[in-house]
């Protein structure tokens, strides 16, 4: 990697940070640099020496304390009771503070790092003893430790910068020790260490080098935060008389000297050294915390950097696909995960016999959204759909501009119908599933139309338009009339709450008047249906296995008998038996309660087993939709064909994959979004956005594909009914 690329990568998280975070870091860096400047050059620029006697020799009054001069143009911050210029002392104090911070860090590093390497490398009893010792030191009040050490070193050697710095440095040894030790431990288990050893390299060298490069990344944060703390500790030591001894200018000691001034109303001797400490510590903390905010992925403000979204994109896309593919994919995926909290385990697949991890497979062309007038597809014509989606778009803010993860989707779902929504990671299916409940992370925007049909009669059950619904209306719909069942069952339940409390909370949110007994009864019934015995209702989430938790989540989703269930990868990370159980439960729901089901998955086998219709998504658009049998047996879109070819079945002799990666959704290409990966691509594909039309050779009416291979898909062609 070139130096420039490396720099760009290092700076990337900073650019992705919010404006506020950036401003705070810059302020912190400027403040810190200001102090470094003052500390290095200041004493030569200051008007006086910090220990230069400032009293007028004309009036030497023996035995009397010199007069303290108020701040004036001569003495910007006044003079103190030793007759020194406070401004010069404050500047001199910056140098002392900087030296002590550097020396103490050096001491902490010199002791902490080798001990950490040793403990991590050797392990065993030595490790345990060292870890406990460091924990003990870490637990002990750091100021007391520093005082005692400064006192002892002062007795043993002599009080001075060295003993003060050692006292301050000892406090930080445990932190460096811990970081290095933990890295060493984890590196030791890495396969490449073994690999390097088999190549003749010394294991110790490999570990040290690798640990070094890893630790170096976390050192800036630890260092700045420790430096801030060190300045405070040094001042405290000075205040108590165990720091750098006079006459060296040290802020804490100077404040201690000024204690008596306060009763006589002299404020400047106390004020200025304190202000200096505050400014320096604030600057360092801003840098350290800012770095942490930016580097730590858990704290990143996703969805809040970049320009706020105001509405749907206008027209198609402007073509300037100059961005590298790799990044495009990453950005794309980020967006899709936008609603997923950190640490979410997205997909670890237990290999079922029919698992088709979608991405990669040669295939076809793809098209754009229908105009709202285009024919819409419903499996069960004549039945009022439970869910009607028109021109749905889901956008996120990103530092590079708006990203439309879902870009013009139309759908109908009949009661009791199951629609499979498939596509590779980042195609927008997770975004779509959240958007159906208008459940957006900060910075996300949903436009278009989502209509949920009335549920019988009665107040609160009427037909409702979810895109413009108020928060209160949305809240009353979610979990009651429409449920979203997430993947990652391990993290979706509040670890501090009993399972029964989750149910009580959800039920009371929608039926506040139900008695506790009734709530209990509903809970037990819903859980019993999922095979969770009554005796476990009051257990905590961590007491259940992943499969049980997923069933609990499902029970939570259907306890209030919704009209619509959206299941986002409900069986990912579950074993095949549990998967089958869950699919059975879902099927039963549709049959018995006429629930409309949207099943989001990348597992084509599940779709084949449980769904009536399937919609294939690519890069934010539906590229093909129709009855499962029809689409799977005779895919009309090259992308679907590629997906099918990459599926493993009993007859598989050769495994295909779709080459290339999905386009950058922040800056999507012109024309069909699949064109770049399509084996059947033509020039025309990059010029027009194909629309969903019925392929001419298909057997059924409601099979649609968006590829100009099929007449009518080119927007220049007449619409099918016009043709006939």
């Amino acid at each position: 990697m070139s130096a420039r690329a490396r720099l760009a990568r290092t700076a990337a998280p900073f650019r992705a940070a919010t404006r506020t975070a950036q401003v705070l870091i810059v302020i912190g860096v400027l403040m810190t640099l200001g102090f470094v400047f003052v500390a290095t050059l200041g004493p030569t620029l200051a008007p006086y020496e910090p220990t230069q006697y400032q009293v007028d020799p004309e009036e030497p009054e023996a035995g009397q304390l010199p007069r303290l001069e108020e701040p004036s143009s001569d003495h910007l911050m006044g003079t103190n009771r030793d007759g020194f210029d406070v401004f010069a002392r404050v500047i001199g104090g910056a140098r002392v503070a900087m030296i002590v911070v550097l020396v103490s860090t050096l001491i902490a590093l010199l002791v902490g790092v080798p001990l950490g390497l040793l403990a991590g490398y050797r392990g065993g009893r030595l490790d345990r003893i060292l870890v406990t010792t460091m924990d003990a030191i870490y637990t002990f009040p750091s100021l007391l430790l520093a005082i005692v050490v400064a006192f002892l070193f002062g007795e043993l050697f002599a009080p001075g910068v060295a003993s003060a710095a050692s006292a301050v440095g000892i406090v930080y040894i445990p932190q460096y020790f811990r970081v290095v030790r933990n890295h060493t431990l984890s590196v030791k288990q890495e396969p490449f260490v073994e690999g390097a050893r088999s190549l003749g390299a010394k294991e110790r060298t490999v570990i040290t080098r690798y640990v070094f490069f890893n630790v170096v990344q976390s050192v800036p944060v630890i260092f700045t935060l420790n430096a801030a703390d060190a300045v405070l500790t040094l001042a405290s030591l000075g205040f108590l008389g165990y720091g750098v001894p006079p006459p060296a200018p040290e802020w804490g000691f100077d404040i201690q000297q000024a204690t008596q001034d306060i009763t006589s109303g002299v404020w400047w001797t106390t004020m200025w050294p304190g202000v200096a400490i505050i400014l320096l510590v604030t600057g360092l903390t801003l840098v350290g915390e800012g770095l942490n905010d930016v580097i730590n992925p858990l704290l990143r403000a996703r969805g809040l950097s970049g320009t706020k979204l105001r509405g749907a994109p206008i027209g198609g896309s402007d073509a300037d696909a100059s961005l590298p593919r790799g990044r495009a994919k990453a950005a794309d995926r980020d967006a899709d995960d936008g609603a997923d909290p950190p640490g979410a385990t997205t997909s670890t697949s237990p290999n079922g016999p029919h698992r088709a991890d979608g991405p990669d497979g040669p295939a076809t062309a793809d098209r754009d959204s229908l105009p709202p007038t285009a024919p819409v597809h419903s499996a069960t014509a004549g039945v009022e759909p439970v869910l009607k989606v028109r021109d749905l778009r889901v956008g996120y803010r990103t530092p590079r501009g708006p990203l439309w993860a879902v870009d013009g989707v139309d759908l109908d779902l009949a009661p009791g119908e199951a629609l499979g929504l498939v596509g590779e990671s980042g195609c927008g299916k997770s975004s779509l599933s959240r958007a159906l409940l208008n459940l957006m992370p900060p910075g996300g925007l949903v436009t278009g139309q989502i209509t949920l049909a009335a549920r019988g009669d009665g107040p609160g059950n009427e037909e409702i338009e979810l895109v413009d619904a108020s928060r209160r209306q949305l809240r009353s719909i979610r979990g009651d009339r429409a449920s979203l069942v997430f993947q990652e069952p391990m993290t979706r339940l509040d670890p501090l709450m009993r399972v029964s409390s989750h149910f009580r909370e959800a039920i009371k949110a929608h039926r506040p008047d139900l008695s506790n007994d009734r709530v209990r009864e509903l809970t037990e019934t819903a859980l019993a249906k999922m095979g969770i015995p009554r005796t476990r209702v009051d257990n905590y989430p961590h007491e259940f296995s992943g499969g049980m938790r997923q069933r609990i989540m499902l029970a939570l989703g259907i306890v209030l008998q919704p009209q619509l269930v959206i299941a986002d990868e409900p069986t990912t990370s579950l074993d095949v038996i549990v998967e089958a159980q869950i699919l059975d439960i879902l099927a039963e729901l549709r049959r018995d309660a006429d629930v409309g089901l949207v099943m989001v998955t990348h597992n084509l086998g599940i779709v084949a087993e449980t769904c009536d219709r399937v919609a294939v998504m690519y890069a934010g658009k539906i590229v093909e939709m129709g009855p499962v049998e029809q689409v799977f047996n005779a895919p009309a879109h090259p992308y679907t064909q590629g997906l099918m070819a990459s599926t493993i079945s009993l007859e598989t002799t050769e495994l295909h994959s779709i080459e290339g990666s999905p386009p950058d959704l922040i800056d999507p290409p012109d024309g069909c979004r699949f064109a770049a990966r399509c084996p059947a691509v033509m020039d025309r594909c990059t010029e027009v956005i194909p629309r969903l039309t019925r392929p001419e050779d298909t057997a059924v009416d409601d099979h649609l594909a968006a590829c100009i291979l099929h007449p009518g898909a080119d927007p220049a062609d007449p619409l099918p009914d016009e043709r006939s």
């Binding site: 009040p141 106390t270 903390t285 449920s483």
Partner: protein, 338 residues
């Protein structure tokens, strides 16, 4: 079932504490044995005859082999005998009994202040990320952390006590103001004897030192709680609660806030130790008759026995507090018990 898992957790936690205590005590013992000469000579060497010195040395057991002294020290520490200071007629335990309640009272008030304002502002700032409230709250948190304890205390003393006369300039309630001593904790004693004027006087003396100490540490809590809120607000279970139609208020308090508080309880132990250490600065400024000032006067007199005794006591307190905090944590978070 829950109680048996709790008992098992407690046992294992205590078992983990003992080695740490042993190591801390060993470190204290070794540190105070590296100084040249012996404690008696260092303290009063130039003021007494060599015979007297030898007698006192013998009486203090300093002529025994180091390992014997170490054993005696450990035994003393666990049986509550922290030695006899050279410069004070009282035993170390008596010194501690006389001064620790004052320090503890101060630290408790400071802790209440710190947690109270740190948690409130931190949680709101986390919820309102990157709004002006958040930025102001963060800056306030950072600046109050950056302000040296003793400096804030001095300025408080200057403006609120000397200039405005709202508070006493220092010391604890004394003379007729002080409650009848039962436990040594004035607030507790005045409540026990239902002596309201003593209660008032005790609080009157406590407020300024407690606030100046607590304010500084509130900044740490503020920053910590804010960061935790940022994380729990994005947690899977929070989104899931939204998806179930749970009201914003409940999601915020029951899920995000409660989970954000778990790590806060964990650091409270560490913070308590830090507060205890830093209270030495407040005690110095306000002439507060606490353990910190007792330590400083032993240090000033170079009374190693006294210093060692007090440091040992601090070590025991710190270890006990971290044990207590872990127990509280286990009560709150069911996962820890397993």
């Amino acid at each position: 079932m829950a109680s048996s898992s709790m008992r098992r957790y407690l046992l294992s936690r205590v078992a983990m504490t003992l080695p740490m205590l042993l190591i801390l005590l060993t470190v204290v013992f070794l540190m105070l044995r590296v100084i040249p000469g012996d404690p008696i000579a260092a303290t009063v060497g130039d003021r007494v005859s060599s015979e007297e010195l030898e007698n006192r040395r013998e009486a203090a057991g300093l002529n025994d082999p180091l390992i014997v002294q170490y054993g005696r020290y450990l035994l003393g520490a666990v049986t509550g005998d922290f030695g006899n200071p050279v410069t004070d007629r009282r035993t170390t335990v008596q010194v501690i009994a006389d001064t620790f309640p004052a320090s503890f009272e101060l630290v408790v008030v400071a802790m209440i202040v710190a947690v109270g304002f740190g948690v409130t502002i931190g949680a709101i700032a986390g919820r309102l990320r990157d709004t002006p409230f958040d930025v102001a709250g963060r800056l306030f948190g950072i600046v109050s952390y950056a302000a040296p304890v003793f400096w804030v205390a001095l300025l408080g003393q200057l403006y609120l006590s000397v200039r405005l006369g709202w508070f006493p300039t220092g010391g604890r309630a004394s003379g007729f103001d002080a409650p009848e001593s039962i436990t040594g904790f004035y607030v507790l004693d005045s409540l026990l004897t239902w002596d309201l004027s003593a209660l008032g006087a005790s609080l009157y003396h406590l407020i300024l030192p407690g606030f100046t100490l607590g304010l500084v540490f509130g900044g740490i809590f503020l920053r910590f709680v804010r960061v935790n809120m940022l994380q729990t607000l994005r947690a899977d279970y929070v989104e899931a609660a939204h998806a179930r139609g749970v009201s914003e208020r409940l999601v915020l308090f029951r899920h995000a806030f409660k989970n954000a508080m778990v790590p806060v309880v964990t650091i409270t132990g560490l913070q308590f130790a830090l507060l205890l250490g830093n209270s030495i600065l407040t005690e110095r400024v306000f002439s507060w008759p606490g353990l910190g000032n007792a330590l400083l006067s032993f240090l000033g007199a170079r009374d190693y026995v006294g210093v060692q005794g007090i440091i040992t006591f601090y070590a025991v307190v710190v270890v006990v507090i971290s044990l207590l905090i872990d127990v509280v944590n286990a009560l709150i978070d069911p996962r820890i018990r397993h």
